[in-house]
Symmetry: C2
Subunit: 288 residues, 2 copies
């Protein structure tokens, strides 16, 4: 990658040299400040693409910062971002409702750009729906850091007091883009304090219990999903499919999500069939 | 059960004696022939409830047939039928599409009266959708005889030439009430010769291939499911949910199926969104 960066950089610099030859000195200085910035000399880490406005040392790897083309580096960053797959951790446990976890599994695994895996308390097999015996890919202790966490429901009660799990959920939420609960999985988000001050939904028979468990949240009925930005909750069982498609639309665009829905022959998907809670200051949320 | 049969029989006979006392002798003879028949003396086997029009020996257990009330025996048969759970075998294999098998799994396992289990070629773990590792409950050789067989799709190609599997499908079809395929699982039904002379559907991208594989069937596009009676095929992936709900409605009534759909919050279910192929002589099939 380093060789590529330097080769393309040489071409861009040559291009810039030719382009700027017709400008005044003042114009040239302004253009240069817009198109050049300081970057860490390539060391193969994420800091390679971090932009700085002044020369100095990289605070991550200690290497001397060098002047580079912003256009080029932004282009490399964009390409890296789109080529990197997002990690999707599907948390499974004894008594997990089969469609709760398999709906989002189908959606993310059928869409380009997601690396989907199961994670459980340990790597011991779990039983879903009373008969589906699944060996988890990872335990909480060796699970790759997820960008998206899916918390399905079912018999979640015994896991609400599981400290390693709740701590894992809290730690994951600190860096994940999306925390998506399905059905009674919302109870786990509540237990991790992630629904405080937010709106949410859950399985129709669990709404009162969830409201009681998380009094600082507003739990909604008859809502397919509620999107608070990072924290997204869905209604019961089959609603996880819609919630996951919403996440795909949010991260990769409506066209990609529609393509996945078509592949799944889930023509019944209604893209706006949920509540998107907009940041303060913005107006009406979509809701059907 | 034997004691119960005889106690209730005594009551019914007493009732019949009182009821018939006001009839002529001819009327009585006619009524008796309608309400009495010959049955195997109770031996605890299915032949206990088999009806015979003449005295003799039971061809199954060899016991002497005795005269009994048809009303009573039909009532016992009805109660036994509704109290017995139907065995639902979900066939899983490497590359099985996760929603293909988990949709019907959710439907049948969430409904009273079904004993659902997974079956595979062997009991070795299989991988679904590239990451879900499942240990099958049964292999083809020790699987309980199913009343309903679910054949999901996905990467079914390698299994079309698997003789033990195709033979198991053929043998299961000889006694099962329902053979339900989802998505490309229809290819397995075709390979077992079960689509000959029937209408069917499958995953949108597999329609031409399936038509070629089973020229004596008529493969339909844009059809959520096709019900030929015992043989039911559904369209792709998520259509398996609808197909399974249709089976529940067919076997246990629309109210039970609606209750399951509500539990799953699958409000999007449209009960008649498929083609029901009626027996010759009957008219219009439902189709949306």
């Amino acid at each position: 990658m380093n060789t590529l960066i330097y080769s393309v950089r040489s071409l861009v610099l040559a291009f810039l040299f030719i382009s700027f030859s017709g400008l005044t000195n003042a114009q040239k200085r302004a253009k240069v400040s817009e198109v050049m910035a300081y970057y860490c000399a390539p060391c193969g880490s994420a800091c390679d693409l971090e932009r700085h406005n002044a020369p100095g040392l990289c605070k991550h790897c200690g290497m001397t910062l060098v002047k580079r083309s912003v256009v080029l580096m932004d282009s490399i960053r964009g390409k890296q971002k789109t080529s990197q797959k997002r990690n999707v951790a599907i948390f499974i446990h004894n008594g997990v409702e089969v469609l709760d976890f398999s709906g989002p599994s189908e959606v993310f695994a059928s869409t380009e750009g997601f690396n989907v895996y199961t994670v459980s308390l340990t790597k011991e097999p779990i039983i879903s729906q009373g008969f589906i015996k699944i060996v988890p890919n990872y335990s909480l202790t060796d699970c790759p850091k997820p960008d998206i966490v899916v918390l399905p429901g079912g018999q979640t009660g015994p896991f609400l007091e599981n400290k390693p799990l709740i701590n894992w959920i809290k730690a994951s939420a600190e860096r994940a883009e999306i925390m998506l609960s399905v059905c009674t999985g919302a109870g786990l988000l509540a237990r991790a304090g992630l629904l405080d001050g937010k709106q949410a939904t859950t399985f129709h028979n669990y709404i009162d219990a969830l409201q009681k468990a998380t009094p600082n949240a507003k739990i909604l009925r008859n809502t397919r999903f509620v999107d608070n930005g990072q924290i997204i909750t869905t209604a019961g069982v089959s609603a996880g499919i819609d919630g996951a498609l919403h996440v795909v639309a949010k991260l990769k665009g409506i066209d990609v999500a529609t393509q996945t829905a078509r592949y799944m022959e889930y023509d019944k998907w209604k893209p706006n069939e949920g509540l998107v809670v907009e940041p303060a200051g913005k107006s009406s949320a979509t809701r059907n």
